[in-house]
């Protein structure tokens, strides 16, 4: 295993642990210390303090839980719905396929983040609406991939044999088509994780995601930009946290793609 890959796995695992440990830190993350506002990073407070004197490290760790939680739900939803639609379109072909392809084309005509911004903005703030907005944008990639793969898998010998033997469709798709799809889908899902983390943070940065006082990475960065001149650590720390996780996931995605194949 290459050294970069191992480091990336460690980074992702650490953020995962942080997300799991976060509930114990919530009180600490909201502990206001007005006499120490905007304190820069130090040995005792590794990421410094924010504009209300709250320790930034605890807030970033609690934010990790929210970012990772939302991201996992969105990618799981998008992958499930997108794969189902894509496999069915590829399997049935004809008018169903034509319709699905057109719908996919329409969704692809919008820059993803723009559609998510408009949806989240119009649906209103809140985690539910955030998940809806990001999933509505996210299913398309999975659907397109699953459709293209199913289209070619449909004519494989083992699939045709299973069909000739009268295997019921759900069983046939589950046992004979999905396993062969899983490689590219896992690669797609890995890149989707990175993209959704950034998109979620972007929406929160614009004030369209999770509302205060819940700390999310995007909201921390947005609040920090107001103090960019006097306390740049407020932007730097959550920014580096976000960057470390996204870089690690993208690296893992690259390696997975080398092994499993998938998008070019």
């Amino acid at each position: 295993m290459r050294r970069g890959t191992r480091a990336a796995m460690v980074v992702v695992a650490l953020w995962g642990l942080a997300a799991l440990a976060a509930p114990g830190l919530e009180a600490e993350a909201n502990r206001i210390a007005l006499e120490r506002i905007l304190a820069p990073p130090s040995w005792h407070v590794p990421m410094g303090r924010d504009d209300l004197g709250r320790p930034l490290l605890a807030r970033v760790l609690v934010g990790a839980r929210l970012s990772l939680g939302v991201t996992l739900v969105v990618v799981a939803l998008a992958a499930a719905v997108g794969t189902l639609i894509g496999v069915l379109a590829g399997w049935y072909g004809g008018l169903v396929d034509l319709f699905v392809v057109r719908v996919i084309d329409v969704f692809l005509a919008f820059p993803g983040i723009l559609l998510a911004i408009a949806l989240a903005g119009i649906l209103g703030p809140g985690i539910d609406n955030l998940v809806i907005a990001l999933s509505v944008v996210g299913w398309v990639g999975f659907a397109r991939l699953a459709r293209a793969q199913t289209l070619s898998l449909r004519t494989r010998d083992h699939v045709q044999v299973a069909q000739a033997l009268g295997t019921p469709l759900p069983r046939l798709l589950r046992l004979h088509v999905l396993p062969l799809l899983s490689g590219p889908l896992i690669v797609e899902a890995t890149f989707a994780l990175a993209a959704v983390i950034v998109a979620e943070a972007g929406l929160s940065f614009l004030g369209l995601g999770v509302q205060p006082p819940t700390p999310s990475w995007g909201a921390l960065i947005r609040d920090g930009t107001r103090y960019l001149l006097i306390a740049p650590h407020l932007v730097l720390m959550p920014g580096l946290a976000l960057l470390s996780l996204v870089v690690a996931i993208n690296l893992l995605g690259d390696r997975l793609r080398d092994h499993l194949g998938g998008r070019p």
Partner: protein
């Protein structure tokens, strides 16, 4: 895709000149591409139209707030056509679009079309500058990495590319602002006052695309450098620089141009966030401001205009590629 292609006459038959044949070959692609673009445009307008109906509860109440009088509400409902059946509303929406009428801004009372037109120019400037930055940084990095394949420089470039792809605009923007506007004072911290104000937003916007171009051009150049005609050019003793820049890069250009067209959507999406970071008065900033003001007709119009611009550019890219490389027609 286009059925017409399979019946193309064999190239060996005596007949029209190469140019005429290329035009014939491109025609079915041209019509097929325009037809599918038309379907997409229809779908895009429908989806944007539906956005207003996603407002939870009564959109009129959300837009006017709780202190509006019943008369105000009825007036706005009528102005937006919300009292009519959905199909009629959709028809009226498309009819308005065809006349260039995008409705009236609730916040300023001005025609949305005028507001959007003003901002569209600024977003176009920013997007083109971002594209320029991306090509100017990404292409040389990618080509040099391909030439240094497997050596240290290649590794450095690929690490930079992952970093550039991963860093979000709202992290890179404030960082650049901190270093080049606050600490060094080279550029203004925001706004759109003069060409210097464009530098940091363009860098912020172009970085991720530069990383993608670097990867794409590296892969495309490696493919092309292994081709026999490159070997032949070298065997003829041509200058290596000429081999790389003329023989190889020209043939590697096609996948790079395709990527550029496809990535333009991400660039336009990134512009929304970049404009917000730097206070650049384009469509993106208008979308975000309008969402916060609940000025939904303006939100609809901005989303529509950006999506249509993206469809237009993608269609043009496809046609450009088919024109650059007639082989594409046969492959579809």
């Amino acid at each position: 895709m286009a059925a017409g292609f399979t019946e193309r006459r064999p190239a060996t038959l005596p007949g029209p000149s190469a140019t005429v044949r290329a035009v014939y070959a491109a025609l079915p692609l041209f019509t097929a591409r325009l037809a599918s673009a038309a379907v997409v445009v229809a779908g895009v307008t429908f989806l944007v139209f539906l956005l207003l109906h996603l407002v939870p509860g009564d959109p009129v109440e959300v837009m006017l707030g709780e202190y509006a009088t019943a008369g105000d509400r009825a007036a706005l409902r009528q102005a937006l056509g919300l009292d009519r059946p959905l199909a009629t509303q959709w028809f009226a929406f498309v009819e308005g679009l065809a006349r260039g009428d995008l409705g009236t801004s609730l916040a300023s009372g001005r025609p949305v079309a005028a507001l959007v037109a003003e901002r569209l120019r600024m977003t176009t400037v920013l997007a083109l500058a971002g594209l320029g930055v991306a090509i100017a940084i990404g292409l040389p990095l990618g080509v040099l990495a391909a030439l240094a394949r497997g050596r240290a420089w290649d590794g450095v470039t690929s690490a930079l590319a992952v970093l550039g792809m991963s860093i979000p605009n709202f992290v890179l923007g404030p960082l650049l602002m901190l270093v080049f506007a606050v600490l060094l004072g080279w550029f203004p911290i925001g706004g759109a006052d003069g060409a210097r104000a464009l530098v940091l937003p363009a860098l912020t916007l172009g970085t991720s695309l530069a990383a993608i171009i670097a990867r794409m051009s590296r892969a495309a150049m490696i493919d092309v450098l292994g081709e026999p005609y490159v070997l032949a050019a070298r065997a003829r003793g041509l200058d290596e620089r000429r081999v790389v820049l003329v023989h190889a890069l020209r043939n590697a250009a096609l996948p790079i141009v395709t990527t550029l067209g496809l990535q333009l959507g991400a660039l336009l999406g990134g512009a929304v966030i970049t404009e917000t970071v730097f206070g650049w008065p384009g469509l993106g900033l208008l979308v975000v401001d309008s969402i916060h003001r609940r000025d939904y007709p303006v939100v609809q119009a901005c989303v529509l205009v950006i999506a249509l611009a993206y469809v237009l550019v993608n269609t043009l890219t496809d046609l450009l590629c088919a024109w650059l490389d007639p082989r594409i027609g046969g492959a579809r």
